[in-house]
Amino acid sequence: MRRALPFIAGAALVALPFVYHAPYPLHILVMILIWSFAYTSWSMMGRFGLVSLGHGGFMGIGAYVTALLWNHAGVSPWIGIPLALVASGVLAVVVAYPCFRFRIIGHYFALVTLALSGIVLQVITATRDWTGGSLGYTPERYQGGSLLYALQFTSKATWYLIALGVWAAGLYVWRLVDRSMMRYALEAISEDEDGAAATGVHVTAEKLKITVLSAVMTALAGALYCQYQMFISPDTVSGIAISLQMVFAVVVGGIYVSLGPTVGAVITIMLAEVLRISFGTRAVGWDNLVYGVLLVIFIIFLPKGILGSLLDLKRPRAAATLTRSPARSA
């Protein structure tokens, strides 16, 4: 029964849009799935103590490179997205390699990547002739021919299925990493870099691999967001606020479990929507107010997040082996 559970849940999720297709709930679900995927991508490296505040930058690159190639060069997103992913991966190597090589770790690493977020945000704003600056940018609607070529769909159900597929793929990648030797290498590194190196772990290479993977996945989330929303602005897909939002959602959901980031996305997005619906424009600011307080409380009292702590409650014996992880660094 336990083994069948993911398949039953998966089948139910796939069947959902065929049974129920009110646009608003589907829209919320698509947003939850896209952001869940972005948060999962962040926690791919975040769970190993590599706290990056630069993921807003990678997401912005995914969104803007795809949209710019489409509008200015007429390149289909089917080619544009892979190019955006490559661009994001290259940027990750350029910034992360020197960091890892020169052992910039912990909060220094967070601050270097914070600068990266800042760079991407400022470049997008500065090249306003191309990107529309802080006013935002819209990929042109494709006139005629197949919409598949332009990766633009008006049906929410189609987007739901795409987002679901990408999200599931993200969880699969998480599982692959979780079961690989890389995971043990990275856990060793996050405990003690010298010790890991002494036992034959190539510290720089392992960290670089997971960083590039995480950056590329985040860029894919950005590109998906852009294709779905058909509007991007520096503040919604890049910058320091987005980077912090990722960290926040993951910490609340649970950083060490595969569904933690998803739980974080569900909580944050539902919270914002509930506040928006029940209080309307008076709710401006209230969602972030609650986030802020929650983030502080979670870091102090529940560093493993909601899902992580719930799982520990359920399996007290397994918890004993897991409790070492949060002490490392969340």
Binding site: P98, F102, I104, G118, I119, A241, V284, D287, S329
Partner: protein, 289 residues
């Protein structure tokens, strides 16, 4: 090309003055960085609240500027203490990154608290200091004032740290936090004093910044990242290094703004930061240990 030279000179001088503003902004953060070894990522938001404080005391309740400034400095100092007691103290033993993230939560909280309480309209004191015209150049008087305040602030902090008993204890704790308890220094008291001092410096920065910029709930994001980078670039807790880094950053931004756009100035500054982190991870002026 004579004209060009004057623009360049003006940009250089404005860069120095902007450096003064940055130096003032990063002074308190640097102190906290150095002594408590915690990154208050919400430091810029404390300054933002201080700016609102100035706005309300000066423009709404019509108190004289000096009274408003003192109220604001004291108020932000109290905020600093509250922040330390509520958020930092329970996390002193946790990983540094957890402390950074918790203060990130405070950042969200303060920003949205300001949105909820004050609205998102831009507010200013309605007080515009004259612009100094000298030899065909325009120099902001308010920046000059901030520059002077940064210098005075740094000298005062330096004197406090080097000439008083408490200052000596603060410096000692920055060097070794375990041993000081054995030497009969109450670490918690020193942390509280440092937090209050850091807050007061944020308040001082707010008093002068409110002359330069309009205040709105997100004003912190426009200079927050820069001041962290300045502190790191200067070498954490190294006040003189932070001072130098502030001027280097400001010149890069000012010259980038002269030749291209202001945004490119920021891009160059950030790139410079990343490059320097790799070349000199200890900061521009490494501390002798």
């Amino acid at each position: 090309m004579a004209f060009f030279d004057i623009y360049l000179l003006e940009a250089l001088i404005n860069g120095i003055l902007l450096g003064g503003v940055f130096a003032l902004l990063s002074l308190g953060l640097n102190l906290i960085f150095g002594v408590i070894d915690v990154v208050w990522i919400c430091y810029a938001e404390l300054i933002m609240l201080g700016m609102y404080g100035m706005y309300f005391v000066y423009s709404v309740y019509h108190a004289p500027f000096a009274v408003a400034a003192v109220t604001c400095i004291a108020g932000v100092a109290v905020l600093g203490v509250i922040l330390h007691v509520l958020v930092i103290a329970p996390l002193l033993g946790a990983a540094p990154i957890n402390q950074l993230l918790a203060t990130g939560g405070v950042l969200f909280f303060l920003q949205s608290a300001a949105t909820v309480m004050f609205g998102i309209e831009f507010k200013n004191l309605g007080l515009r200091l004259p612009v100094l015209k000298a030899a065909g150049m325009f120099i902001s008087y308010a920046r000059l004032l901030a520059f002077a305040a940064a210098l005075v602030g740094m000298v005062l902090v330096y004197l406090f740290l080097s000439r008083t008993y408490t200052g000596a204890a603060i410096r000692a704790i920055a060097q070794d936090r375990q041993i000081m308890t054995l030497m009969g220094v109450d670490t918690r008291r020193i942390y509280l004093i440092t937090s209050a001092l850091g807050g007061a410096l944020a308040g001082l920065a707010a008093c002068l910044l409110v002359l330069l910029y309009d205040v709105h709930p997100f004003v912190g994001l426009s200079f927050g990242p820069i001041i962290f980078l300045i502190c790191v670039l200067g070498g954490l807790g190294n006040l003189a290094g932070g001072f130098v880094a502030a001027f280097v950053f400001a010149e890069i931004i000012s010259l980038g703004g002269l030749y291209l756009d202001l945004e490119w100035g920021y891009v160059f500054a950030f790139v410079f930061f990343i490059v320097m982190m790799c070349l000199r991870p200890e900061g521009l002026l490494p501390r002798r240990s």
